[in-house]
């Protein structure tokens, strides 16, 4: 008899609560905009913040409510996502941006570049930069204290076998977080297809750079002469490459006295490691 009563009472309670809950879920339902959901489902969902919104949902909401007109802000998604977003929103979108990736314009490790003092502080580039611009003699280079590595949402930045900080261009989503956090400004965006890079950021005179770093650009203009079609330009004692020119760049790389023009052809960090 007791078994029957308890069985009946629990079943009855279950029924009452079940009905109550199902009614409540209908009555108190949070109405979510279908458009927001649709947009959000197309975004990558890594919440990197590259678009300038708090996360993917923030950007999705802004697009769906037509507060944000630019549909190309999602750099991890690239043109594919932009096109999909345009389809949902029913607008045309102009895809002009080629895929960009961040890279470290410095190959000065402990052996190659000199230091001025022993740094014993917090392992963070911004903390080191507070005192005399870091302990390296070069005030433009990579301090190597991992601020960008910590901030990268996709773990695309590592210390390579040379001990230099390097970005894996296949993994980089060009969110720009590393560029933001870097105190020396040594990280910059380059096209994903870039074949060569002048891996130096020193704007000091050649003689000064040569004293403190064996792989620093000395502004000798050799690259301009060796590969005149390669888009090399020396300004402020520092060579840069204009990637809109697509001439030959190899000769300059070979002739560069400090060997700071590196080939990126088919080289990713992983390849180097293997």
């Amino acid at each position: 008899m007791i078994i029957l009563y308890s069985f009946l009472s629990v079943t009855l309670l279950g029924l009452i609560f079940g009905v109550g809950l199902s009614m409540a879920s209908k009555a108190l339902a949070v109405r979510k905009d279908e458009k927001v959901e649709a947009v959000e489902s197309k975004l990558p969902g890594i919440n990197c913040g590259a678009c300038g919104y708090a996360g993917c949902s923030g950007y999705a909401e802004a697009i769906a409510k037509e507060e944000e007109e630019d549909l190309t802000l999602c750099s991890p998604g690239g043109p594919d996502v932009a096109l999909e977003l345009a389809e949902i929103m029913g607008v045309e979108v102009e895809i002009s941006n080629q895929r960009m990736v961040a890279q470290v314009f410095c190959r000065g490790n402990d052996e190659r570049s000199k230091t001025e003092f022993v740094y014993q502080g917090v392992t963070d580039c911004n903390a080191a930069y507070l005192y005399f611009g870091g302990n390296k003699s070069c005030k433009y280079g990579c301090l190597g204290l991992d601020s960008c590595i910590k901030v990268c949402p996709v773990d695309a930045i590592i210390h390579d076998e040379d001990g230099c900080v390097w970005v894996d261009k296949e993994l980089c989503i060009s969110c720009g977080k590393c560029i933001d956090i870097c105190p020396t400004g040594v990280m910059k965006l380059i096209p994903h297809e870039a074949d060569y890079i002048v891996a130096c950021n020193s704007k000091d005179k050649g003689a000064v750079t040569r004293k403190y770093c064996s792989v620093g650009c000395i502004g000798c203009k050799m690259c301009e002469k060796a590969s005149p079609e390669g888009g090399y330009k020396v300004d402020n004692f520092l060579a840069t490459i204009d990637y809109s020119m697509d001439g030959e760049r190899e000769a300059a790389s070979v002739k560069c006295p400090p060997k700071c023009i590196l080939s990126l052809k088919g080289v990713t960090v992983k390849d180097e490691k293997n």
């Binding site: 001025e116 003092f117 502080g121 917090v122 911004n126 903390a127 507070l130 005399f132 901030v151």
Partner: protein
């Protein structure tokens, strides 16, 4: 003996190590061959350089003009020719525009200064303008422009003027010697401050490791025409900080984020008061300061009267050079000072001491993980939790650190001093504040 006053929370008791210099009279450091005058020697925006390369400058001539609400004028400490205008690193690790002046060989400092007007005839506003003209900043370390501090906004009143003669940093004895040797002049400076601020009472806080200074100052204080009291304080670090000193002397506590004026107090260092005297009575701008050169690796430690812009190496030479290779050369006190790597770094308005420390004094050790011992929490005079703050910062949660009071930290170094794991806690706090500042700037930009 009655119980000595002191502040409430936290604090540490480092050995004061003042005995090597506290008996030594202030000496003149002499004139450098080249003086390097940075344009950013104060809190706030750097001064605008008003001279060009090749220009002739004279002692006391303005060479930098205050460039904002919180900024200060800069004067040439020597007579000579401007050789170069470049950038140098300051002792605190930042870089600043600086004027190098090659000193004329025949130059000898002016022996008598004379103000244009008798200060007693000047009104309050004229006095404050004069202070601004003379480029006086707080010499206790924060280098806050004095004229800004003196402008009391309408609505607030100053009840207590507190003169800071605490000098709680170990090794430093410049203020101590100043109080002994320049007593009359300091009191003249206090009179000027009294005229500008009109407080109800003047307190002079001095720690009880300087009994001679307490005695001399008390004698003089009793003869003043307004109520002045010397308050002997129990030896404890960081008593020389504004907030701790006010609490020790008056028992009042400044609310978080507020200025001392919120509770009717104004604090000024004895060194600043002396410079105020020189500026107002003698018409001499802030071109010299008194500092201590000490530490185990210095042959003959001394208290020196130094021209701003003198390279630190010349001062060390003046003190007989190094007796052994120092492990660190620190500018400022050992608790809050900065280690420098280049001995040609110039002395600035905020340089209160130069310490060449031996390996034993530095007591450097390998950093280990946090032991959760809680010593830093006990030591923090602001009642913060340094170890948790550091963990937040270490994990890049700067807003989280702000929520638990990062901005109340004034980097006194008590936590780092007690930390048995040798964690660079203060450095972490500085990093956290830097990032918060950067993020704020970014937000302002977005809004604009």
């Amino acid at each position: 003996m009655s119980k000595l006053k002191t502040f409430g929370l936290g604090g540490v008791h480092p050995h004061d190590r003042k005995s090597r210099t506290n008996g030594k009279p202030i000496e003149d450091a002499g004139i450098p061959a080249v003086a390097v005058i940075p344009m950013s020697q104060h809190l706030g925006s750097p001064a605008d350089c008003t001279v060009e390369v090749g220009a002739k400058v004279e002692e006391g001539m303005p060479i930098g003009k205050s460039s904002g609400f919180i900024s200060a004028n800069i004067h040439s400490p020597v007579t000579g020719t401007v050789k170069e205008i470049g950038r140098v690193f300051l002792p605190n690790g930042t870089s600043s525009q600086a004027i190098s002046i090659e000193v004329e060989e025949s130059f000898s400092p002016k022996s008598s200064w004379k103000a244009d007007k008798n200060w007693e005839e000047l009104s309050k506003e004229e006095l404050i303008d004069l202070v601004a003209d003379m480029g006086i900043v707080g010499l206790g370390g924060a280098t806050f422009p004095l004229n800004v501090k003196l402008k009391v906004p309408t609505g607030s009143t100053v009840e207590y003027l507190i003169i800071n003669g605490v000098e709680c940093e170990p090794y430093l004895t410049a203020d101590h010697r100043g109080m002994l040797e320049l007593t009359d002049k300091i009191f003249k400076g206090i009179e000027i401050l009294y005229k500008i601020m009109e407080p109800e009472k003047v307190f002079i806080g001095i720690e009880n490791n300087k009994p001679d200074a307490i005695k001399v100052m008390s004698q003089k204080a009793s003869a003043m025409s307004f109520p002045t009291e010397v308050v002997p304080l129990k030896l404890r670090y960081p008593q020389g900080d504004e907030k701790q000193l006010i609490q020790a002397v008056t028992g009042r506590e400044i609310p978080s984020g507020a200025l001392p004026l919120a509770i009717g107090c104004i604090v000024s260092n004895v060194g600043t008061v002396y410079s105020l005297y020189e500026a107002v009575v003698l018409g001499k701008p802030l071109i010299e300061r008194i500092l201590t050169v000490s530490g185990g690796a210095i042959k003959e430690p001394k208290n020196l009267r130094v021209r701003i812009g003198t390279p630190i190496s010349e001062l060390i030479e003046k003190c007989g050079g190094f007796s052994e290779v120092p492990e660190k050369v620190v500018v400022g006190g050992p608790m809050m000072g900065f280690a420098i790597f280049d001995l040609d770094t110039p002395v600035t308005k905020g340089t209160s001491g130069i310490l060449a420390l031996t390996l034993k004094e530095v007591n450097s050790s390998v950093r280990t993980s946090c032991l959760n011992c809680g010593k830093c929490i006990q030591a923090c005079p602001m009642g913060l939790n340094p170890t948790t703050l550091f963990k937040y910062i270490d994990h890049q949660d700067y807003d989280g650190a702000k929520d638990i009071g990062l901005l109340d930290c004034k980097e006194c170094g008590s936590c780092g001093y007690t930390c048995p794991a040798h964690i660079p806690l203060i450095h972490g706090m500085k990093l956290g504040k830097l990032i918060l500042r950067k993020n704020q700037q970014k937000q302002n930009k977005v809004k604009a």
